[in-house]
């Protein structure tokens, strides 16, 4: 199982994914987000064979053209990769055929960033603010929807990364199995399109934890009776048994 999330902020698009590949009882960390040589960030949930063929086909797609043309080519690539990956199977199951991809690019044609969701059946739609794909899609959409009040269109890219990472972490925590940390992130802006390295992801994850600490502190000030948890050595000292005398 894979979870993919995409968010359009004021500065560009952030894509996020979990890191776990699951084949029965077999689990392994794998790369789920990519950037093509022409600067299209993408991820695909579902059949790994489809993803492999898709990676090859997407390399030929140039992003600086009409969004409708780029969309058409991505949909064609998705269909073709599904056909190739399942052509040797006599009667492919829904699992073998099922895949959903998220694609993000900045197009010089109209000077805008795009976030596209495409299914292996060929259904495709541009997301105006956010979208998700993969196993726990409904959880992800719910989580992103809960943050909509912050105004995604005005968010900086850094803040967008923290929002998406927060929701992705929540989805992973809320899912019984199949998805696991660490998260992966791709950012797409006019100037750059890249997959964040481990160190950069760890910095975003730390910002998520600081964000949560900020919320705890805020609640504690609203409600004096609510004491934010003290973390670390001080907590151990506070929890140490004291003499009844």
């Amino acid at each position: 199982m894979t979870i993919l999330l995409g968010l359009r902020s004021g500065e560009g698009v952030v894509l996020a994914a979990d890191s776990q590949r699951t084949e029965g009882a077999f689990r392994q960390r794998m790369q789920k987000l990519f950037v093509t040589r022409h600067g299209i960030g993408w991820g695909c949930a579902g059949n790994v064979a489809i993803q492999q063929d898709l990676a090859e086909l997407l390399e030929g797609i140039e992003r600086n053209r009409s969004p409708a043309v780029v969309k058409q080519e991505i949909v064609a690539a998705m269909r073709e990769s599904t056909r190739r990956a399942t052509s040797a199977i006599e009667t492919p199951s829904r699992v073998a055929l099922g895949a959903v991809g998220l694609f993000a690019w900045y197009g010089a044609f109209d000077g805008a960033s795009r976030l596209l969701r495409v299914s292996s059946e060929g259904h495709a739609e541009f997301a105006q603010t956010f979208t998700a794909g993969g196993g726990p899609t409904r959880l992800a959409l719910f989580g992103l929807g809960r943050f909509e009040h912050v105004g995604f269109a005005e968010l900086s890219l850094d803040a967008g990364k923290v929002v998406v990472a927060t929701v992705t972490d929540d989805v992973i925590a809320a899912s019984a199995h199949g998805v696991a940390a660490p998260i992966q992130l791709v950012t797409v802006t006019e100037r750059e399109q890249f997959l964040l390295q481990d160190v950069d992801v760890e910095e975003v994850e730390s910002a998520v934890d600081a964000f949560r600490a900020h919320q705890r502190q805020f609640l504690s000030e609203l409600t004096p009776a609510f004491a934010p948890p003290v973390i670390g050595a001080a907590a151990s000292a506070a929890a140490a048994p004291t003499s009844p005398c």
Binding site: E202, S206, A210
Partner: protein, 189 residues
């Protein structure tokens, strides 16, 4: 008690010129993580901010200091990440994932604890002021919530707060804790 008032000079007089026997910066990092370590581990934000205060204010040589840049939640150092990778590789620390925390928690291993005990003895004999500052910083930061600590560090070293997505410097006075200089407090955004 660590004085958290904004200042630019070291907290105490230097112990003297750096000598080949001084600790390496990754030794100070291990000492921070291992001293009085909680089994649940230390948050990455604490590691970076504590080492920032230490690097900026302790009487140590340039080679012992970490360089910092403004990060998403405050002072951040690539070299700390590198050194944590190295400490993890040699089995002195480990990063563990804990439910409820997005980032890994930094834990000390038994081997790391042993090494830290040796380093503490060395540090307290050769660089007592620096060692005292480091241990004070850890004690102080864990005695307050992360938000209050981050706000204090970013007020103290505003050059590393510029990119933070939180307005730490404009953070309102927490209940029961007076700011040292209200006049110097930046206006809220």
């Amino acid at each position: 008690m660590l004085d958290l008032a904004p200042q630019t000079t070291p907290l105490s007089a230097p112990d003297g010129a750096a000598s080949p026997g001084d600790l390496a910066r990754r030794d100070w990092l291990l000492l921070l993580i291992a001293h009085d370590a909680d089994p649940g581990g230390l948050d990455g934000n604490y590691v970076h901010t504590a080492m920032c205060v230490f690097s900026e204010e302790a009487p140590i040589s340039a080679a012992e200091r970490y360089p910092f840049r403004p990060g998403l939640s405050g002072p951040t150092s690539e070299q700390i990440y590198e050194d944590m990778d190295w400490l993890e590789e040699i089995g002195h620390v480990e990063r563990i994932r804990v439910r409820g925390w997005a980032g890994p928690r930094i834990c000390v291993t038994p081997a790391g604890r042993e090494r830290a005990a040796e380093l503490l003895a060395l540090a307290t004999s050769r660089q007592p002021s620096a060692a005292g500052l480091l241990l004070n910083v850890k004690q102080e930061m864990l005695s307050m919530g992360m938000t209050v600590w981050m706000a204090l560090v970013c007020r103290r070293h505003p050059q590393y707060a510029g990119r933070a997505i939180f307005n730490w410097r404009g953070y309102e006075r927490p209940p029961g804790r007076e700011w040292d200089d209200d006049s110097a407090r930046p206006a809220k955004r």
